[in-house]
Amino acid sequence: MNTLPENTLKTRVPQEEVERVVKPAPSRYRNEIAKYIVHRSLDCERCGKCLEVCTHGVHVRKPGFEYFGEPNHHLCIGPACAKNGHYCVAQCPKQALQIRENPMYRALGDCRWSADLILATWKMAETGEAPSDEYDFNYECGDSGGGFDKLRFKFPKQPPIKLDADQIDTSISLNKRKDGRPEIKIDVPWYGGGMSFGSVSNVTQLSKARAAVAWNTFTCTGEGGYMERMRPYDDHMITQVATGLFGVREETIQRVPIVEFKYAQGAKPGLGGHLLGDKNTPAVARMRETVLGISLFSPFPFHSVYSIEDHMKHIDWVKHVNRRALISTKVSTPTDVDMVAVGSYSAGTHIVHIDGGYGGTGAAPDIAKKNIAMPIEYAIGKVHNFLTDEGVRDKMTLIASGGIRSAHDIAKAIALGADGVVVGTAELVALGCVRCSLCASGRGCPRGIATTDPELCGKMDLDWGTQRLVNLYSAWRKTLVGILQRLGLRSVAELRGRTDLLMHLDYTNDIR
């Protein structure tokens, strides 16, 4: 991308490289939340047997000390250890040890993001690996009782063909139109969702951007404007043109390889973006060119778009301003989402991005989150099939989002018919989000992720944030490759639309 076509970017800054290397990125908190807690009673004679048998480093006695310190509860795998002969509880000569499920565990997470899924995501972000089976985390799905959480892959006992991990291709192409615009490929079938400056901190945005560079994928500015500090990552940025048009200028459109029109978003379909007044800080107001401290509700819909023809005018405008840009159209999932997708294709879009109702990271009315538009699991197949029937499926990239939490969700979404996915909440969880939902107002996220409060922003460091996301992506890719190996598929593109490889726990699964 060194030679740019005419009439696009006027000023280009040197692009930064970020290494795709997994390095440990432990929790930034002193105490990790553990699934099990280890209790040592006063009967302990400090013989050190527990220290000797435990292979997970749970028990701690500093050199030169007689007494044990606080155990590393989060490393304990619980009573499952009894199977492997390393169970400290059974081996303690004084029966002074007890292992119990942590009562605090119930307070973490929710139906969509179970505590297991959150802790497993933290482990991935820390180590770059999926947690070992010993920990017994169910991180393949949540507890929502439907959709992805009820879908499973039908893995054959033996893969039909034996493939090494390095033989498997996880890249996807974002431009299938063959219209002379760049053939952009990303190395993994996902990219980062739009989170505006204002809804999240600049450290969060930059961490996402740097991880996108490392993994040769993309992240999105959201609708809050384009920070100058993101310019060294322009080649991996998507900039959003949303109904509020905050910070949108021709110059920002010219910076990027992909421009996204956001017509709607899954967490609040049919409503515009929300940034509550408390989060409209001086820096945010400056970026968005608005009055400090007022709530910013983007309108819905684009009042310049009443039809596909109007949508085409939008696209033509951006294509003219930026001759190398691909166009993504982000819509939510109403009944006629399939018609919208085909209409969007005819208007000239390269990527149709459908955003289901159960995702979202920003502020949204609770009534909208649960009740408007269909979950993404229904929409993917509907759009995929309609595009196929209309004969344009292979000319359009279908990206799904709105509740994609793990590598398994990514694989399931692709098997249902998407080319790839967009992730948002999972990235925030990797950065330490506990899903307390308090990021919408006040000073924002108490964990320093989704806030622009100067004090809270200081809780997270850019290098750490970048590494956590690089690690998460690495763990996801390994898991995804593992799934493809077991299915005997050479590439993630081969998985697209392979619903025959899926089963649903609530169905008889007897259709051949």
Binding site: E70, I367, Y507
Partner: protein, 466 residues
């Protein structure tokens, strides 16, 4: 532009200590007394009033239950002596249908009159029972809105109650008979009778005032005498089989009356109309096994203008072993009336199981013209729905001690928040009028249909019993 319907609100704080979802447990004996105590760093300053809370022993637990559940103090404490747990008192709120989350959000709306907004996406189950098994639709590029592009201020939530003739008989240019009376309400909500267990004189007066302040109608027992006769147009007397009569002069000042279903309802309506020809009469039909059939039968009677169908408090069919839910019963009644060609002539009010503002919109989509509620207003007064309302049992919400101004303020706030949320949903749907929302199942998606269209084709039949 016509005057906009607006409900005046102001914050009304709770009387009782808040019951939060999370509580912090502090094992003080291991405290290192370090100078960088995490309590000082609480983003929400929850610990700052610790001494005050502890001095006031009656509210000592409130400190622990106002925790916002961010885990920051728990994860940063030098000695790891803080724990977070789900508050057992929170889990005891409500029942299987009126879940703690519903009680909590109702309390917040009654306090603030605001639409609840939060971050981090949806947290609940994929779908569920009753109203949780349907989604409302929204409009996108190819069909921006059904009614055109309009701002929220142009969305009308008004509905009309009464009989609407499907055609006019004219003698020359004049109608042969006068048009039947209609009652217009600014939003599709009526305050229903309080259940006998929750009837409190103070509550009735507050309900009367709330109906007056919001421009809505409250159904009150015929023995009730308003504190202010000016509120009579916001009262609909309920005439049960054994109810005492309402003085004629008082009845003439009301707009709507409700009559218990019975064999002689047509005659009863005629009697009332003799006293007050412009009154609209509703028939209350309990949704038992025979309820649906009875509602349809009544709709065919020329005298009947309004049918008020009522399920149990959880939205279920009454006295049935395998009860159907209100949404399904409404769809059946609505569809049958359409097939008979009389749907537009009858107003259908629906009550029972309406716990959240989305239930109001969904019940209307399923075929009701408007909905009736009572329990949400009780919850607005900090009721726990503990079902222990009996003499000698203390009420945890001290409902017997409510202050009139507090009660009116909280109930008004809740209604205002519901109204605003109805507009949010209608705005997303592209609907400009609540009247047009009725029975418009094209603006909704149902779980069973989506499952069949999506997964049924791929995976066969849905397993029995699910």
């Amino acid at each position: 532009m016509p005057e906009k319907y607006h409900i005046q609100t102001q914050p009304v704080p709770p009387r009782r200590p808040r019951i939060g979802k999370h509580g912090v447990v502090d094992w003080r004996e291991d405290c290192a007394r370090c100078h960088n105590c995490v309590k000082k760093a609480c983003v929400y300053d929850r610990y700052k009033q610790e001494a005050e809370y502890i001095r006031n022993l009656s509210d000592v637990d409130a400190l622990f239950f106002e925790c916002m559940g961010c885990f920051s103090c728990v994860q940063n404490c030098t000695k790891g002596i803080l724990c977070l747990s789900i508050n057992p008192a929170y889990e005891k709120l409500g029942n299987k249908y009126w879940k703690p989350d519903i009680i909590k959000t109702t309390w917040v709306q009654a306090e603030t009159a605001k639409i609840p907004v939060s971050g981090a996406g949806y947290r609940g189950p994929f779908s569920g029972h009753g109203f949780d098994s349907m989604w409302t639709d929204m409009s996108e590029i190819v069909r921006p809105t059904r009614d055109g592009i309009h701002g929220r201020e142009y969305i009308s939530t008004s509905v009309d109650i009464g009989r609407k003739p499907s055609y006019l008989s004219l003698n020359g240019t004049q109608p042969v008979a006068g048009l039947p009376p209609l009652v217009s309400l600014p939003m599709p909500l009526i305050i229903d009778l309080s259940s006998p267990a929750h009837t409190l004189p103070k509550l009735d007066a507050a309900i009367e005032q709330t109906a007056g302040d919001t421009g809505l109608i409250a159904i009150m027992d015929s023995s009730y005498r308003p504190m202010d006769e000016a509120n009579l147009e916001n009262i609909a007397f309920y005439l049960g089989p054994d109810s005492p009569p309402v003085p004629d002069a008082m009845l003439r000042k009301t707009r709507l009356v409700e009559i218990a279903d019975g064999p002689a309802v047509a005659e009863r309506i005629k009697e009332i109309k003799k006293i007050h020809p412009q009154i609209v009469a509703a028939i209350r039909v309990e949704l038992t096994a025979a309820g649906i059939g009875r509602a349809i039968e009544l709709a065919g009677l020329g005298e009947v203008e309004v049918i008020h169908v009522v399920a149990d408090a959880n939205g279920n069919e009454l006295t049935a072993q395998k009860p159907r839910f209100l949404k399904d019963m409404l769809r059946q009644i609505h569809t049958t009336l359409i097939e008979k060609g009389i749907r537009d002539e009858i107003t259908l009010m629906a009550g029972g199981g309406i716990a959240l503002p989305e239930h109001m919109a969904k019940a209307i989509i399923c075929g009701a013209d408007l909905i009736t509620i009572n329990l949400p207003l009780l919850v607005a007064l900090e009721c726990h729905l503990c079902d222990s309302c009996r003499p000698g049992t203390p009420c945890p919400a001290r409902l017997e001690k409510i202050d009139f101004k507090y009660a009116v303020g909280r109930m008004t706030n809740l209604i205002a928040a519901w109204h605003d949320q109805l507009i949010e949903l209608m705005g997303a749907m592209g609907m400009r009028e609540a009247r047009r929302l009725r029975g418009d199942v094209g603006r909704a998606m149902f779980f069973e249909n989506l499952e069949e269209e999506t997964f049924g084709k791929l995976f066969g039949a849905r397993k029995a019993g699910l």
